[in-house]
Amino acid sequence: MMEDAATSAQASWFQATARQRVAGLLDPDSFTEFLGPSERIQSPHLHLFDVPSAFDDGVVIGRGKLGGKDVLVAAQEGQFMGGTFAEVSGAKLVGLVRAARDHKSLPQTVLLLMDSGGVRLQEANAGELAVAELMRAIVEARCAGVAVIALVGGKAGAFGGAGLTTATCSRIVISGQGRTGVSGPEVIETNKGVEEFDSEDKALVWSTDGGKNRRLLGGADAFAEDSMEGFRAATKALMSKVPAFDLKTMQAEQERLAARQKRLCACDDAVSMWRILGIQEPETIRDMDAKKFIALANSIKEANHDAR
């Protein structure tokens, strides 16, 4: 059956749907969905724009097990409206993180499977506010001892509010195809011109926003091979120990980001940044296979820290 193939260990995370990712990531048959599609909690706004709705508004939430450990999980569907934050899709994420924050009996690990271009234009105000609420809920949950882990490897990446949400989490897992940032390449090209950012040049796009650059600079804590098993393995390894959210951590992050700004602000391309990080042949990074890259990234000082 094709659904089995789509969620098998070697199936591509990048090409999977949100539901396939949840099924492929968690232990078999361990997932229970909250507010599932048959509840039909859809966007109350999209019809105004003559745009089709989705039964789950593009976010799947629930609980399950990963490697035997209980987790709460949420997955954005990047193919539906770009996985965007909107009134309903956002509130589902906010509710899930608040549930973990307030109820010690619930799993104290939340996995956010990000796949989002940011805020849904048709519900921009509601979406932006949902991001603000989610970021606050994540910080409160982290203060209460909850581990919130972002997994980035979908087609829409994690941009705009999703990029900020990702960087608010305790830990970040990313794949080579994964991208995260604030303004996407197309947005920068539209506003600032093709000279600033040629969004058609995918190699440039990925060297800017892509998983390898994020991992090497310390913008992500683990690199996953683009497969269900790749994300399972990387996430399991990160779950056991996450940074506390306190003044010390934020001071360390301040230092980390200030140092990065100082060392790398003169660089115009990723390869020259990687060279400054002490990588011997930075031009070989791009085509390096995942295993080799993971080992390399684990040896880079900037890439491995608790300052998040």
Binding site: F34, L35, I41, P44, H45, F49, E87, V88, G90, A91, V94, L96, R98, A99, H103, S105, L106, V119, L121, Q122, E123, A124, N125, A126, E128, L129, A132, E133, M135, R136, V139, E140, G161, G163, L164, T165, T166, A167, T168, G181, V182, S183, I188, N191, F197, D209, G219, F245, D246, L247, M250, Q254, L257, A258, R260, Q261, L264, D269, A270, M273
Partner: protein, 247 residues
Amino acid sequence: MTLDEILRGLFPSGHEVKTNAAGIITGTGKRKNGDAIAVIGVANGEALGTAGVLPLAEEVLRVVAKGGKTPILVLVDTQGQLMARRDEMRGLNEYLAHLAKCLLLASQQGHRTIGLEYGKAAAGAFLATALATDRLIGLPGAEPTVMDLPSVARVTKLPLNTLKKLAKQTPVFAPGLDHLLQMGAVAEIWDPDKPLDDQLEEALRNTSPADSRDELGAQRKGRAMAAVVAKRVIAEATGGDKNVAST
């Protein structure tokens, strides 16, 4: 109102608030009761990039490290995040999120945080500053813009006029202070004709770190579903759990 007018109105007994060439605001103001309030922000509609975030976050961390309960005021007039390939390459999302996290840390540690939106505000920079405070206040004339209508028109392929008409039916997508008030993002809009220092003190009294923006949006009929959906999620998550049910 200009930044100077606002600062004079907020702190008649004096302040040490400076704005650098890149529009980065830092300093301290003197409250009516003589206590200090920390002030940070972005002025002149400047865009916020990796370089601009660092002094702002540093200031917030200094206030938290010092202990006490000094509140923090965040003044906001920014066109949004800096749109530049190099800043993105260095991880602008981490920088902006860091500033938001520092503000949220402050509020978790007992520092009341107030956002004052007096000019523009957009997208990622909005999230990192004004929307990361406990209580967001608008001044008349402020133009918070999550997404400008021409961009919405371009992506949705709907005519601008259609969108303008739609914007009258719903506050959910179009720019404007009133819309954000209705959504629950903006707690209140100040009256510029009344003393700002009094209004600041009143706002500080009403500030709480508990996030009730979705409830507010529901009360004001701007966001009917958000609070309900979030609560239903919690109910369903805990409902199936015997331990939770018994507590």
